[in-house]
Symmetry: C2
Subunit: 199 residues, 2 copies
């Protein structure tokens, strides 16, 4: 993926100045300050200077407000797998897509780390995150099938790849010294290869 | 795991004749007949001939009633990994634990398939299932650490193993001809090795 594309995704902004972005920023602030359980959608709307009705025009429930970035992550990863060279092995194609995703999250920097802390800190949010990543794995599996990879190899490669991405993300989010996420991901994929070859 | 242990787990019963078992059976019936959205915890209690209060003494919410088997699955898988030969490679140890789990689910037969259809048919249930399997992966990773496997290899091997288990389970649940689940799992693990080696 080009730097320009990542740049434009960043400018779309996690916290854009429109209603949606203000609601996202307000939710992150309140979930961090008071915790998820002690925050209502009315609180979020009030902090953003908007009505609760506006909240529900943008987000289906109290959780979705934190998951816009996951949708963009999926689009990028899927496009990256689709655009990998036609002769790339399935896991290599998946790794290319995941690397694009890692660049995006890395570009969010401390915002991504703060969000990870909030999401990991509440079971309902963690559950939703798993569901989103599972949907991403399914989408990646579908692209592998389009590339001619049969099942169950397509599903297995997609699920294993996304599992590695999740572990690498959790490592990165708490790693001291802020290593670049793509490097953490590449190391994790190499570890998986070693573990599978050795076992 | 011995056949005797699996037998005693089966006798504990998915649908034991006690209150808990009756609630589980009633929930499965109603979720199948009417769907999850059109069933209340009061409906489940009524079908089981019990009060809604009794329901909530046994289960925290409308979803948990379907997840007892997942808790037992985790216990078995974790024990299987722990009991693998000390010199077994990490993925081999994980595969041994997962095979024990596969034997358990296989012993549930059509009950396990019916439950998979209900769980897969509603996003809220599918989300909870993912959370349970994620907890199982964390527990397996913890046992690998006890066995001396360092991170991130422990987390990666556990997550990749459980991802394979999930894909194999989904395959098995809808496979014509009712193949044994352990065989489907073994084939899926072999596919993962091929995919990782080739990519």
């Amino acid at each position: 993926m080009t730097v320009a594309v990542i740049g434009s995704l960043q400018r779309m902004g996690r916290w854009a100045p429109d209603a949606r972005g203000r609601l996202q920023q307000a939710a992150m602030e309140l979930y961090t300050e008071r915790g998820y359980d002690r925050t209502t959608t009315a609180d979020i709307a009030e902090r953003a200077g908007l009505s609760e009705r506006t909240y529900f025009r943008h987000f289906a429930d109290k959780r979705e407000v934190l998951f816009d970035s996951t949708g963009r992550l999926e689009q990028l990863v899927v496009a990256g797998v689709r655009d990998a060279p036609a002769d790339a092995a399935p896991l290599t194609a998946v790794a290319a897509g995941l690397d694009d995703g890692a660049q995006l999250l890395d570009s969010f920097g401390d915002d991504a780390r703060a969000r990870a802390a909030v999401v990991g800190g509440h079971p309902e949010l963690a559950e939703r995150e798993l569901a989103k990543l599972s949907a991403m794995a399914r989408a990646v599996g579908e692209v592998l099938r389009e590339r001619g990879v049969p099942d169950p190899a397509a599903a297995l490669t997609a699920e294993a790849g996304v599992a590695v991405f999740r572990v690498a993300f959790e490592q990165w989010a708490v790693a001291p010294g802020r290593p670049p996420f793509p490097a953490v991901l590449t190391a994790a994929l190499a570890e998986l290869r070693t573990a599978v070859a050795g076992g």
